[in-house]
């Protein structure tokens, strides 16, 4: 918020006070309405995630249902149970979206703060409400902006705690999952290339730049710019595709 000017800050405060939304939602709505409060309200209320008041007792109960007996966190077993209750496969990508909303630090675990805070934000305090929200969350993946955020979030979430890079196998798994939602035909070649040629962990920069690559460069790589400051792995990938005749590039 410190990046906003005084006028904007005041508006955000007002907005939050009136709608009870989070700062993030307030800023989002105001930006979208070019900082007009009325317009922002319209946008906010026309969006499905209307902030409803959640019962904090219910939330506590829910948390305790899934929490690990020895540690104050929801671990693998708890998550499996949760998925069961939600009638969702634990590998389902919607769980990633859930984790994103919860701002979970690492996959396969939720802290108390993350779980409860996330559900509050989503306006969920029962399993039924949770289940209902799932289709909405799936739809969020179709939104370009949100997909990018979820994609970038996935890196930090999927990697080991304390590591800077993401293990290759995990990265490949995540890519398969993510690019099933937002189709990128070259994803299989990419994964193959990495296994054959790279065989090492993936850096954050490479991860985030890959999405840009998938979005901007066409399948014949005709608009791929060698001087485009792409990470070197992507440069090598292009070479790999050309060498193996997967793509015919006109070298000038």
């Amino acid at each position: 918020m410190h990046k906003l000017g005084r006028g904007h800050r005041d508006k955000v405060q007002q907005f939050m006070a009136i709608t009870g939304s989070s700062e993030k939602a307030a800023v989002q709505a105001l930006k979208a309405s070019d900082w007009h409060l009325e317009g922002a309200f319209d946008i906010f209320y026309s969006q499905p995630h209307i902030r409803t008041v959640t019962d904090s007792r219910h939330l506590e109960e829910l948390y305790n249902r899934y929490k690990d007996p020895y540690v104050d966190m929801i671990l693998v077993d708890g998550i499996t149970l949760l998925c069961n209750d939600l009638q969702v496969d634990p590998q389902d990508i919607v769980m990633l979206v859930v984790s994103w909303h919860m701002k979970a630090a690492t996959m396969c675990e939720f802290s108390r703060q993350e779980f409860i805070g996330g559900l509050q934000y989503l306006g969920i305090d029962t399993i039924e409400k949770f289940r209902d929200k799932l289709s909405y969350m799936r739809s969020e993946l179709k939104d370009e902006q949100k997909f990018r955020e979820i994609y970038n979030f996935a890196f930090g979430w999927a990697k080991e705690k304390g590591q800077k890079s993401l293990a290759l196998d995990t990265a490949i798994g995540m890519w398969q999952l993510l690019f099933a939602e937002r189709h990128w035909p070259l994803v299989d070649h990419w994964c193959q290339f990495l296994q054959v040629r790279h065989n090492k962990a993936i850096s954050r920069d490479t991860w985030s730049q890959l999405l840009e690559f998938a979005k901007t460069v066409d399948l014949q790589l005709s608009n791929y710019d060698e001087e485009g400051a792409w990470p070197y792995l992507i440069d090598e990938f292009v070479e790999y595709l050309t060498e193996n005749g997967i793509v015919q590039r006109h070298q000038n």
Binding site: S203, T206, G228, A229, P231, Y232
Partner: protein, 733 residues
């Protein structure tokens, strides 16, 4: 206002006009006319200048100037027409003579007439804006003689014919020519140009066009250029003898255009005689001539320069890629030096030390030296060879000359850091083996490198020298100390090397013989006694030993061997036979080194102090070694072992290159950080350019490597990508 009546005194003009009797005017004119006739008839001597002048004066005074002038024109014209007829009737060669003579006459007459009519010139002519007498005379001559239909073309044809004859070798009357052309010049520069110079230039152009076509078919390049040069000087001489000086530049550019500019490409590329063969055969005179001729025409010199450059690049490329030439590094470098000398000489002797040619030479060398990535190594080996033995007996100035020439090659290297690595290795070997011919020469080389690259380049090298010197002092101290009472045990000479300065070699310590161990420990104690906080590690792979050996018939020899070899040989003091495996176990020398040592001890003729069974060159696990009783050598001192620095084997080369690449990474990163710190935000391509230019004095960084380093810095959060423009990077404080 009171009008005071003034009495104005007027002086009335003299109203009395003296009218000249019209007859008087006519009579006066007749006198003058007669005088003009006489002058033209070479009868002037009987005339009175004073009287004629007075007559003319009077006419003008009494306003008969017009009559006088007109009369003059008519009279002169009449005479000139007569003269024209006489010239026209002259036959053949006499035409010009006659013209010349008559011109001379006319000038004399004109002068006299002008003198007589001086008053008219000054007053009447001036006020009525008529042409003055002298000029009038010239114009009349021009109109009536030169431009007369029967004379004009004949005159031009004669002149051009004479010039043509002279060009084809005949002797002509230059004096006459000079007079004629001077006449034309006197008549006005447009007369000279229109009536002579222009046609002259045209005719010359076609003459030289034809001649150059003929010559180019039958002459080789050198001959052609000689002929062209001769023609050029001929024309210049011609101008000085009988043409207007301003014609020189015009005629020379005609010759240059026809003979040189039009045939430049063909000349330069002529097979077996063109520029390339002149360069190959060091034909200084021909090259010099070509340079001097070609510099007169546009693009002449750049043509020579381009052909020279591409030839040089091809030759150079061959020099550095021919596998035959790559076998001996010293020869390789010598070839490069010779080539450089050759071209330096050519540029000095034939190309006037032209700077652009020097630059072309430099850029060509830079181009092909770097085509071979072993050039840095080879240049270092060349220097190594010279500093070991090659310069023995050579005077100091000559030494400096050779080293300076090598420095020239060094400057062309793009990968100076590779050279540094090799130089360090080779220097270390020289110093430790005591193989330098002269300490001064070594230091001189270091100074040159320092001047070229800065002190960082050479600080470690200097550290090596310091260590050597310090070691000498240390040894002195050791032997005067209490630790050195050994009796008749082995004598030790230690060189203590500071780790950072010397090239790192992984040292696997071997098992030293007991006697050696004892003295080594004594040294260690002595050394560490006076210096705290240091750790000594014996580099058994770098030492040497002198062993006294007695063979079968009592012959004694002193063997100079490496430390490893010494360990091996000492084993035979207690046993006669050992297998490879046993030796390996006892000494713990690394297998690859061990095999090489055994090979040089047992398989080399004249140095086989050990006998091997079987006699093969290869060493197998079960091979047995015996002390060779039958060893003979005509030398008392036999040297086995320490080999001079050789060019590296493939695996060694790979290793060195890898180390160089590793060293480059932090340098690239440091450059990136430096640049980003000051510029804050920068796009990818600019970073690459800046980094390259910052590091160019050491090596040429690979853009892919730079990219990887940037990504590594992003990973370590020194930099980030700009959120909006992915091609921009931002410095993170």
């Amino acid at each position: 206002m009171s009008a005071q009546k003034k009495r104005n005194f007027k002086i009335e003009a003299f109203k009395h006009r003296v009218e000249l009797d019209p007859n008087y005017a006519e009579r006066t004119w007749r006198v003058l006319e007669h005088a003009i006739h006489e002058i033209y008839n070479h009868n002037a001597s009987g005339l009175s200048f004073e009287e004629l002048y007075r007559n003319a004066y009077n006419m003008v005074l009494h306003k008969y100037g017009e009559k006088l002038y007109t009369g003059l024109v008519n009279t002169m014209t009449g005479h000139l027409k007569e003269i024209a007829r006489s010239i026209e009737s002259a036959q053949g060669g006499f035409f010009l003579e006659e013209l010349n003579v008559k011109w001379g006459d006319h000038n004399k007459a004109l002068q006299m007439i002008r003198d007589i009519l001086m008053y008219m010139d000054r007053t009447f002519v001036h006020s009525s804006h008529k042409t003055p007498v002298h000029e009038l005379g010239l114009n009349l001559w021009r109109d009536n003689i030169i431009h007369s239909s029967k004379i004009q073309s004949r005159l031009l044809d004669m002149l051009l014919d004479l010039i043509h004859r002279e060009r084809t070798g005949e002797v002509i009357n230059r004096g006459l020519m000079r007079n004629i052309t001077k006449m034309l010049m006197d008549l006005g520069s447009s007369v000279y140009q229109e009536d002579f110079e222009k046609p002259f230039l045209e005719v010359s152009a076609s003459f030289y066009s034809v001649e150059s076509q003929q010559l180019i078919e039958c002459c080789d390049c050198g001959e052609y250029l000689r002929k062209a040069e001769r023609r050029l000087s001929e024309e210049i001489e011609r101008v000085s003898h009988y043409l207007d000086v301003k014609s020189e530049v015009k005629i020379t550019s005609v010759v240059e255009g026809e003979m040189i500019a039009n045939h430049m490409q063909r000349l330069v590329h002529m097979e077996n005689s063109g520029l390339v063969s002149m360069l190959v055969d060091d034909k200084y005179e021909d090259l010099s001539r070509m340079y001097n001729l070609f510099r007169r025409v546009p693009d002449g010199l750049s043509t020579i320069k381009d052909v020279m450059t591409s030839h040089l690049r091809d030759t150079g490329k061959q020099l550095v890629s021919d596998p035959e030439k790559l076998k001996d590094p010293v020869d390789f470098v010598q070839n490069l030096l010779d080539e450089k000398d050759k071209y330096d000489k050519i540029i000095t002797k034939a190309f006037n030390n032209d700077k652009t040619f020097q630059n072309a030479l430099n850029s060509s060398f830079e181009y092909f030296i770097n085509l071979n990535n072993r050039s840095p190594e080879f240049i270092s080996l060349y220097v190594d060879d010279k500093l070991r033995k090659g310069l023995k007996g050579v005077s100091e100035e000559d030494v400096e000359v050779v080293l300076d020439k090598v420095m020239m090659l060094f400057r062309y290297l793009q990968e100076k850091d590779v050279f540094e690595k090799y130089y360090k290795q080779h220097l270390a070997k020289r110093l430790l083996a005591g193989k330098s011919v002269s300490d001064d020469t070594e230091r001189s080389m270091i100074v040159k490198l320092k001047t070229e690259c800065g002190y960082q380049f050479t600080s470690k090298l200097e550290g090596m020298f310091t260590d050597m010197k310090t070691s000498v002092d240390t040894m002195q101290g050791f032997y005067t100390s209490q630790y050195s009472e050994i009796g008749d045990g082995p004598t030790l000479a230690v060189q203590v090397l500071t780790t950072g300065s010397w090239p790192t070699q992984p040292s696997a310590p071997c098992n030293l013989p007991a006697e050696i161990l004892v003295i080594c420990e004594k040294f260690r104690t002595y050394y560490l006694g006076t210096r705290t906080g240091r750790r000594l590690t014996w580099q058994t792979n770098m030492g040497t030993a002198d062993i006294k050996a007695t063979f079968g018939k009592g012959q004694r020899h002193e063997l100079n061997v490496s430390t490893y070899q010494m360990c091996i040989l000492m084993l035979f003091n207690s046993v006669d036979r050992l297998t490879y495996g046993e030796i390996e176990q006892a000494t713990e020398i690394p297998p690859s080194d061990l095999k090489r040592c055994l090979q040089s001890l047992a398989c080399v003729k004249g140095k086989n102090v050990l006998r091997k069974e079987p006699m093969s060159k290869d060493i197998a696990e079960d091979d047995a070694f015996y002390f060779n009783d039958k060893f003979t050598s005509k030398f008392i001192k036999v040297k086995i072992g320490t080999v001079a620095a050789q060019k590296e084997s493939e695996p060694e080369k790979q290793e060195t290159r890898q180390r160089v690449e590793e060293d480059r990474k932090p340098q690239i990163e440091a450059a990136i950080v430096r640049i980003m710190k000051s510029r804050r935000v920068l796009d990818h391509n600019t970073i690459v350019t800046e980094v390259t230019s910052q590091l160019q004095s050491r090596f040429l960084p690979n853009p892919v490597v730079i990219k990887k380093r940037i990504e590594s810095l992003i990973e370590r959060e020194f930099l980030e990508r700009d959120k909006a423009d992915r091609k921009l990077y931002r410095y993170l404080a």
